[in-house]
Amino acid sequence: MTDIPVPRRAKIELLVRRDDESFELQEVSSSAAWVQMCPTRVADADFELAEVTSRVSHEPSFILKNRKTERFLMLSEPERFLWDQMHGHTALQEMATAYVLKYGEFNFDIIPSLVRKLQKAQLLTLEPASRLRRVLARNRQQRLLRAAEATLFALERINISSRRVQPFFDRLYHWGGFLLFTRAAAVVCVLLGLLGLAAGVRLWQSADTIAAGFGGHAVVAVISVKLLLLTTLAFHQLVHGLALVHYGRRVREFGFTFLHGILPTFYVDVTDIFMASRRARVVTAVSGTLVHLVLGALWFLVALYAPPGFFRAFAAASGIIQLQTFVIALYPFCFIEMDGYHVLVDALGVPTLKSDALTYVAGLLRGAAPVPWSREAALYLGYVMLSTLSVAGFVAFNVLLILHARS
């Protein structure tokens, strides 16, 4: 028997211009593009889905019908789960993650074979996923939108990363990183948190005096504090990586990028933790955020004992920002898929909660056909309502802080 050689994946070479007339060359493999594709199923009116239960195995399966072509497909329960994600907002890579979280196994063959099956039955379209990018692309004749698109594109291209970071994290862990995952570290963390909280309460009582230390440069000070915060995000990600080492998993990548082309951030690829226990996943998610709790508490303690002036105001503001970041990272209801969100969806077993909830609520707002009330519907509504209220509260709190500091 002769082995059929596996054809190499096709690549294209692209030249991307920068604003200063220089350019960079990027080779993009078809496989890299494939995992970022967001499959979009046909409109709801164009398909029907019915559940059938096997009389032999008593396991549910589903019949999917294309109303236009009258073609039928039989879907298993995991395939139906994937079908539900194909609303154009979830990339295949994210679907694979959701699949692992739900079924606890890496059976990724199921995804390409399902995509092929659906395409054959003409149940998928191939539209670009990002609505914002579609709108920008459609309106390139407007200079402002063209500039916005170019800026987003340029920022998205900025990615400084390395895939050979495992030895670095191993060394960091063995040189003392392991101490972070001891009971003593947990106790210190709790104590610091309590001390920081007490310091924060005392500082709040003299907030006016402390804020006066900025001397009329509140906005500049807040911006510089946020820049300082950016550097601490690197520590946050380092601790995530150390948690992976602690649980014997591999750190695949560490780097810096602009999330969605807007938010500067450091990141670490922790996908290998999906192979570990739920406890490991929770510890990995939470440990990174504790960096902000510790730093916030320390800044508050520094501010408490610092003499009045700019430095004291700066320390207090840094403490507030760090604690805000701690809360945002751990608080799951803010439309941002951060550490707390991942813990929540892991616990609920609903890995695509945000996109499902947004799709559900958008349907309600558009006046789409009423969806029968269910626990899932309640969860979706609860998630969107809580997140909306939380974001509004967060914005109001920051506006209040800035006004307070300026007055």
Partner: protein
């Protein structure tokens, strides 16, 4: 000066279009060429520009790209010493079909339309050799383009997961 002209003539002899040229013809051609230096990253001309010259690459590497979307262009080809480009606009007077930029510092020799016409009119034998070489290179580039189209189609099919065999 003579030495420089001789060097240039030796180089031109390596260019496929001029391999059949004899020494007097090469020397005559040398006088019609103009040196053009490019810094790394510098654009020589852009897709859509008017074109009056073709270029021989004497030193460095040249990138040929075509606009795809926004600031993204697809790299179509690379040229190195002994290669030539830009001849299409000389003959069909159409705007440039692609953008040319230097991937490294580069030195080019430019031949404009008037000088090419002069060469053709004065020396029919050299002109015939030139066009024979040109046709051979065009055939090669056509084949390369067909392969590129196939490669890009394959990329699109793989990137979208489209399975045409079982449709």
């Amino acid at each position: 000066m003579v030495s420089k002209a001789a060097d240039t003539a030796d180089f031109i002899k390596t260019v496929r279009l001029f391999r059949e040229f004899n020494d007097p013809e090469l020397l005559a051609l040398t006088g019609r060429l103009r040196e053009r230096k490019l810094r790394k990253g510098q654009v020589l001309f852009r897709e859509g520009d008017e074109g009056e010259e073709m270029f021989l690459v004497r030193e460095g590497a040249i990138l040929v790209s075509k606009a795809v979307t926004g600031k993204v262009e697809q790299v179509l080809a690379r040229f190195g010493p002994g290669d030539f480009f830009g001849e299409m606009s000389l003959f069909d007077r159409s705007p440039r079909s692609a953008t040319i930029q230097a991937e490294t510092d580069a030195m080019l020799l430019a031949l404009d339309r008037d000088n090419l016409n002069g060469l053709i009119q004065v020396n029919p034998r050299a002109a015939a050799a030139f066009f024979h070489g040109l046709v051979q290179v065009f055939i090669e580039r056509l084949r390369t383009s067909s392969e590129l189209v196939a490669e890009i189609t394959r990329w699109g099919l793989e990137a979208t997961g489209l399975d045409m065999e079982s449709r």
